[in-house]
Symmetry: C2
């Protein structure tokens, strides 16, 4: 495949701790319900999965935020539960509710039956990656993604979102052998899935360990981080002569920052509870950092949004160190953007990040 | 008031970093729905608030877990929202849902109208404290408690529990002046409330900053910790010649452990994401630590419960240091016990904590 040359490589450069003229910014869930044009496309598609499985619709919504805002990266529009769906668990989205699996994995037989799915069942995702990459025409890089082995396991065992993770933790503490088998299958599936996204055109990949932070110290390392590390170790890191950065984001992972930074990823995502300056001092010479504005800041007036965005940049500090080398910072939210966000507040944020970060160079 | 002399002071001693023959253990929400006898009393009372506002019922349920398990402390049975209810916000508990306020605090006029409530409106709480203390007859000490100023503010502004804290954070970022006014009123009210509990017989008090962990770094310090510190600074610390320990627990507060340990509390509560050994190394010479088993461990078989309980103790290590001085550890869960917990698993935990902790002495 031949793709257009990249015009704005600030995101990839920051991932690799190379100099950039400004701090690159993108937003988790930037293609989403807060945008009226997204809602219009989704209405045409009929459902969330109708949107995610249709290459044209997925391409359309992925590019929508880039038409509004000078964002420095695009992220594949998809769902984190595509992989367990391809395993045959039967994903559905009930109206007004979260995702649900028809066949949750709760007993020995169900665990034994799990297999890495044929990647052909996820062809719609890889086709979307290629289509989006072509439509981007080199404007900004495209990020692919997957849920982490542990985060997928939470949904697979619980069968849906959960307040307390009772079922999955009962299995973890009561039948750790079953849990390890699920996680190993998931790790191999996620690695194959991300490698196929890279083959299809993804220029960076991100592993969302959205529920790693619900685990206890000790359990996190054994049941989440270990399998994320297995994924990272199995990824192709170069494609067509370009380095493909890997981002790992554990929401609530602040207590384990140094351990997360040691598993081989290029970038570690941070939620808003983490002090960026302290995180940089601890691991900034080994990994780039991505984050970490509280998405609720976007409900405040645009002046406050701009001020809080600048405060995040100040907290990281000047990316060039006194010794001349650069540390990497990618500006992002510490969680997906809320559907209730006023779109014009996002303009204020992106503009402020670009403007203020130039003053730190 | 004259109360019976205390027979088991291991909890108070551990709070003050004094030697104890075993690690004391109590469980957040130990008087709760996982106990059939609690459900029976609640059925008699008709409702949650019917239970909490009736001195006899509150005394009965507070003592129930002590009849089953050799716990080392009792905690007042009450709700964290009694104070805003006394401010006139109109607390209710809809069937099968969480708490709800009829009059949430969302605009300038509502904020201006807020006042520290007359403590006489909370007399039912103080009467319960005295009644429970008498009924305990010196078996174990009684802990009083309150929500933190920030945690109360979350409910007061949102009007109920929240997934995203959108309303309260919108006020925080958009109208910080209003938020500071709410928090100052709350801090003064909470201090008066806890001091009255101490006057009524509480032998230690705990501030639950249950939602401090949803705040961003920086915002946590300005909007939660500062006001918890105001409360701690306003508390009477001795009563009848005895030190009254103060426990502060911020769920998700791991990133700010050193700052929390510096506000003057005797004990810092930790959730299960925090490594107890590292926390002890960081602040164990200044405060005792309370925590931090994941309550979901209690769904595992009793052998696993005992093993995980022992692992928490091992993570803290031998409480007596090589220099002969003692660091303080109170065993607890990192969150309230689930209503789905099998009561016999709690027996296994309490027994294991007592047994294993003796081997660490």
């Amino acid at each position: 495949m031949m793709f257009a040359p990249l015009q704005n490589d600030s995101f990839l450069r920051a991932c690799l701790r190379e100099p950039t003229p400004h701090t690159p910014v993108w937003l988790m869930r930037q293609a989403g319900r807060y945008l009226p044009e997204y809602c219009a496309t989704r209405a045409k598609a009929g459902s969330f999965m109708g949107l995610a499985t249709n290459v044209d619709f997925a391409t359309e919504v992925t590019l929508q935020p880039l038409e509004r805002y000078p964002l420095d990266a695009a992220i594949l529009f998809s769902d984190i539960l595509t992989v367990p769906d391809a395993m045959g668990l039967g994903l559905s989205f009930a109206q007004g509710e979260g995702p649900r699996f028809a066949h949750p994995v709760r007993d020995e037989a169900a665990v034994a039956a799990l297999e890495v799915p044929d990647m052909e069942r996820l062809r719609y995702v890889f086709d979307a990656v290629t289509s989006i990459r072509r439509a981007l025409a080199g404007r900004v890089p495209l990020i692919g993604f997957s849920g982490s082995p542990w985060t997928l396991a939470c949904y697979m065992v619980e069968g849906a979102g959960s307040d307390d993770y009772r079922l999955v933790k009962s299995m973890l503490y009561g039948r750790p052998d079953l849990m390890h088998r699920i996680l190993d299958v998931n790790a191999r599936a996620v690695a194959a899935y991300l490698n196929a996204q890279i083959d299809a055109g993804a220029q960076a990949v991100m592993v969302f360990d959205s529920w790693g932070g619900v685990l206890a110290d000790g359990a996190f390392q054994r049941f989440s981080l270990r399998y994320t590390q297995q994924v990272v170790g199995a990824l192709q890191r170069h494609k067509d002569g370009q380095r493909v950065p890997v981002i790992v984001f554990t929401k609530g992972g602040g207590p384990w920052l140094e351990e997360i930074a040691a598993i081989g990823a290029d970038v570690v995502g941070l939620d808003w509870t983490v002090n960026l300056g302290r995180a940089r001092a601890a691991v900034g010479d080994r990994v780039a950092l991505q984050g970490n504005l509280d998405p609720n800041v976007l409900f405040a007036p645009p002046e406050a949004v701009a001020r809080e965005g600048a405060a995040v940049l100040d907290s990281f500090g000047r990316p060039q160190r006194p010794d001349g080398r650069w540390d990497g910072h990618i500006f992002n939210l510490g969680h997906g953007i809320s559907q209730f966000t006023p779109p014009e507040h996002v303009s204020a944020l992106v503009e402020a990040v670009h403007r203020h970060s130039k003053t730190l160079r």
